[in-house]
């Protein structure tokens, strides 16, 4: 889904049509789920967050002023829900979350998810802070620019760069460790 399409859907939904609102929420749902998943590392928590975010979007889309990207506006709602719900950086992930995450990755395997990517995702969840994961996902994977991400997370662009640098460095190291582990496994 192109971001401009999302902006168009948002403008249409502001017209008050129920069908347009459903189209908007349908388009947003996977994106919000992904953002919440990257932040929480927990499918269960991400489901709850996504529900709450979509309800807030439904309630307040009328107040969205299309001067900025709609995705940025929704991300800020997502971030607020995450922080309101105590699902910020202090949240300890449990073993149950990790198992649920692996199951979700496994069930998504039909369309994507080579084994290496699933392993790397697990390492990403373990080794990076929620904010580092969010920055890495938004910039390197989804292609948002630093200014937008700074707006989304309500931090400075310089802080975005610091998080991004650390996240890339850590993830590359994790990828190297994974490669080494796999090579050792093949050698046995």
């Amino acid at each position: 889904l192109e971001r401009s399409n999302l902006d168009d859907l948002a403008r249409s939904a502001q017209g008050g049509s129920r069908a347009e609102m459903e189209r908007l929420l349908g388009a947003l749902r996977p994106l919000v789920c992904r953002w919440a998943l990257v932040w929480t590392g927990s499918p269960d928590a991400a489901e709850d967050v996504a529900q709450a975010v979509l309800m807030r979007v439904h309630r307040s889309v009328g107040s969205y002023e299309p001067t900025g990207r709609f995705a940025t506006w929704v991300y800020r709602i997502t971030r607020n829900v995450l922080l309101d719900g105590g699902r910020g950086e202090d949240r300890e992930r449990t073993l149950r979350d990790r198992v649920a995450l692996e199951r979700l990755a496994e069930s998504a395997r039909g369309t994507a998810g080579r084994t290496e990517a699933r392993h790397l995702l697990g390492r990403m969840m373990d080794a990076l802070s929620p904010r580092q994961r969010a920055v890495l996902d938004l910039v390197d994977l989804q292609g948002f620019d630093a200014g937008e991400v700074a707006d989304m997370l309500e931090i400075s662009p310089a802080t975005v760069r610091v998080h991004l640098h650390r996240a890339r460095e850590t993830l590359r190291e994790q990828a190297r460790l994974l490669d080494t582990t796999e090579e050792n496994a093949h050698a046995r």
Binding site: R29, P30, R34, G113, A117, L120, V139, D140
Partner: protein
């Protein structure tokens, strides 16, 4: 919406994840988002059904209460009073939230958890 690498001032190209890794992770997270969205949609779709089934339960509860206890007894009861045992329903009086659930009712009510964590049956012990 997706792509590899938004531009950042001062960003060094050798600092980036390699394109293949980024692509694979992006595809996986996309697919996981879609799968989670499907679950959220199913959850959302079930709620209206729960509301209607709740209305049925309400009617049954009101009828049972009137038949077994009589409206005079209920009017004075306030809350239904917790019954002993793990399976006992939570209860509340007027405007009192049930423990662990965000429920407020205009009168006394009983809350019955079910084996499905998404479904909770609430019996409103209506005024006689």
């Amino acid at each position: 919406m997706h792509g590899n690498g938004g531009e950042i001032d001062g960003d060094r190209s050798d600092d980036r994840l390699d394109a293949e890794t980024a692509r694979e992770l992006n595809l996986l997270l996309d697919a996981m988002g879609v799968e989670l969205a499907r679950r959220v949609e199913v959850r959302g779709a079930r709620r209206p059904w729960i509301a209607w089934s709740g209305l049925g339960a309400l009617a049954a509860a009101a009828l049972a209460a009137l038949t077994l206890i009589g409206p005079g007894d209920l009017a004075d009861s306030g809350g239904a009073g917790p019954a002993p045992g793990d399976d006992a329903p939570a209860s509340g009086g007027e405007g009192v939230p049930a423990p662990g659930l965000d429920v407020e009712a205009p009168g006394p009510f009983l809350v019955f958890p079910t084996s499905d964590e998404d479904i909770t049956v609430i019996w409103l012990l209506g005024e006689g």
